[in-house]
């Protein structure tokens, strides 16, 4: 069970006009922390965009999150709505006030991603150049653009550091 949706329940009927819902995508800010690695407790702050808002019932809507999933959330999720940027309204026409709500996700199953901390293994040295090859435990995207952001820095004559993010 992967979770990419957040349900917001209200105490009165909400305006089901889809144009109003679509005009409210940028009014939401969602913030949470996710695990960086499964084998330690380091976390990274995530602020995924809301890709869709759909009318669910007379008194509830569902936010769909792009790019990130909630399954590896650590701690609470913060959902913030800014009425100056959105158009959510009740069925009687009154705009919904800004709010900040915090909830602890339920029924999450931690995914095998990200993988265990990766290690870089020096494979070969040719002339004065050094080729580096490394392997990971989980499958990674075939998009070569995923690797362009690697930064190679020289710590000293014997140590170099390669940092960046690979997409699963």
């Amino acid at each position: 069970m992967w979770s990419k949706h957040i349900r917001i329940t209200l105490d009165k009927p909400i305006n089901r006009n889809q144009a109003l819902l679509d005009a409210s995508l940028n009014a939401f800010t969602i913030t949470y922390n996710t695990k960086l690695f499964v084998d330690d407790s380091s976390v990274a702050k995530q602020t995924p965009k809301v890709s869709a808002i759909s009318y669910e019932t007379e008194t509830s809507i569902v936010l769909s999150i792009s790019d990130y999933i909630l399954d590896n959330v650590v701690g609470d999720v913060v959902v913030e709505y800014d009425k100056t940027k959105g158009s959510l309204a009740g069925s009687t026409g009154s705009p919904i006030e800004s709010f900040i709500k915090v909830f602890e996700p339920i029924n999450l199953t931690e995914r095998q991603q990200p993988a265990t901390r990766e290690t870089i293994k020096l494979l070969q040295r040719v002339n004065n150049n050094m080729d580096i090859m490394f392997t990971v435990n989980s499958s990674i995207s075939s998009d070569t653009g995923s690797f362009n952001s690697f930064i190679v820095s020289i710590e000293n004559a014997l140590t170099i550091t390669v940092s960046g993010t690979i997409k699963p």
Binding site: H5, S87, G90, T92, S94, P105
Partner: protein, 383 residues
């Protein structure tokens, strides 16, 4: 009516006056009431409209030197929203006796109501009555001549009793010799006065009974906020207005940016009312339960609004009790299905109708917006 002329000529009546009895809105008159003077005495005779005319049931009224009759008159719509006059069974008789006493009888056997003395001629008509605004009613209008001047007196029906106003003297254009008062077909009262060889016509203001154009549904309402509010409609085919009394909570959002965005309703009324009163154009002779069983009330979304009980307040006013109008928004629908158990006082089955209730005419109050009750993630199956 050549046959009628022959009838009157046959009996050589003087000072005759004819009133048509038309009890059914969609049928022609069934009877004539003829007032006439014979040998110094007033009589009322009745004749069927079926040929040949023949007087029957003649009633002696006593010494008279002038007499005039009309039937009490109402009007209402048929199933096609066309409005027709009909006459309840009340004959109104105005007469001037030999001493000059002007009097009115509401019914041939009713006691006389004396209106003036020194009169010589009289004429009576039931004026137009506004179908929903009881204050706009021309009442019974008696025009009469007294010492060459023309006066009118009007009787207004208030709480089922006629109240007679003071005499009003019309402007004089000479020495009046005859007077006749009629309804015109543009909702006025016309008083024609003869001054010897010339005549003048006096016209009243128009009474718009609300039926000069077809009304497909209730056109307007007015209501107040929170307490002692009411909803009033101008007209509909058979309901004259609908009224909500009690705890009214009304709201509208006037936010400009919101109105630009929303597509389905400019005004977001939210009505919560305990009572709805239905006032019909005519008196209903049925049990409240029979009326309730023929009514279907729904909100703007088509959801039925349950009426918990119904109470008959007066002959033409029913009060519906409901606690389920909270989401009626800006309109509700009332549908009445004709039933043999719901008739008016003259025995006609009330025709089916469907009416919309719109709300307007009160100070908008911002509604309470929805508040967030909970936020939680939704587990989603991903393949």
């Amino acid at each position: 009516m050549p046959a009628l002329s022959k009838l009157l000529a046959k009996y050589r009546y003087s000072e005759s006056c004819v009133a048509l009895y038309k009890p059914n809105v969609t049928q022609p008159p069934t009877q004539l009431a003829i007032a006439y003077i014979h040998d110094g005495k007033g009589y009322i005779g009745y004749a069927s409209t079926a040929v040949p005319y023949a007087l029957s049931d003649t009633v002696l009224l006593g010494n008279c030197k002038d007499i005039s009759v009309c039937y009490d008159t109402r009007w209402r719509a048929d199933a096609d929203s066309n409005y027709h006059i009909y006459t309840p069974d009340l004959l109104i008789i105005a007469s001037v006796d030999t001493s000059g006493l002007l009097s009115v009888r509401l019914g041939e056997n009713a006691s006389k109501i004396n209106l003036d003395t020194g009169a010589s001629k009289c004429s009576v008509i039931r004026g137009w009555k506004h179908i929903s605004d009881a204050s706009i009613d021309q009442g019974i209008c008696v025009a009469y001549i007294k010492k060459g001047s023309v006066y009118i007196r009007t009787g207004m029906l208030i709480n089922d009793k006629y109240n007679w106003g003071a005499a009003i003297k019309l402007q004089s254009y000479g020495y009046a010799t005859d007077v006749n008062v009629t309804r015109t077909n543009d909702y006025r009262i016309s008083i024609t006065v003869s001054y010897g060889k010339t005549s003048k016509m006096f016209l009243s203001d128009r009474t718009f009974p609300g039926n000069t154009v077809k009304n497909e549904f209730i056109a307007a309402q007015q209501l107040a906020i929170m307490t002692s509010g009411y909803i009033e409609t101008i007209s509909t085919r058979d309901i004259s207005f609908i009224e909500g009394i009690g705890s009214l909570k009304l709201s509208v959002d006037m936010s400009g940016e919101y109105i630009n965005l929303q597509s389905y309703s400019l005004f977001g009324w939210n009505v919560s009312t305990e009572h709805i009163s239905i006032v019909t154009m005519f008196d209903i002779d049925s049990t409240p339960e029979a009326l309730l069983s023929a009514l279907y009330i729904s909100d703007i979304n088509g959801m039925q609004i349950l009426v918990e009980r119904i109470e008959q307040v007066s002959k033409n006013t029913f009060k519906l009790y409901t606690s389920n109008m909270q989401h009626a928004y800006d309109e509700a629908n009332i549908k009445f299905t004709s039933s043999n158990d719901v008739k008016d006082v003259i025995g006609n089955v009330v025709p089916s109708f469907e009416a919309k209730v719109f709300l307007r005419g009160y100070i908008p109050v911002p509604p309470t917006p929805p508040e967030v009750v909970s936020v939680i993630n939704v587990p989603t199956e991903v393949t």
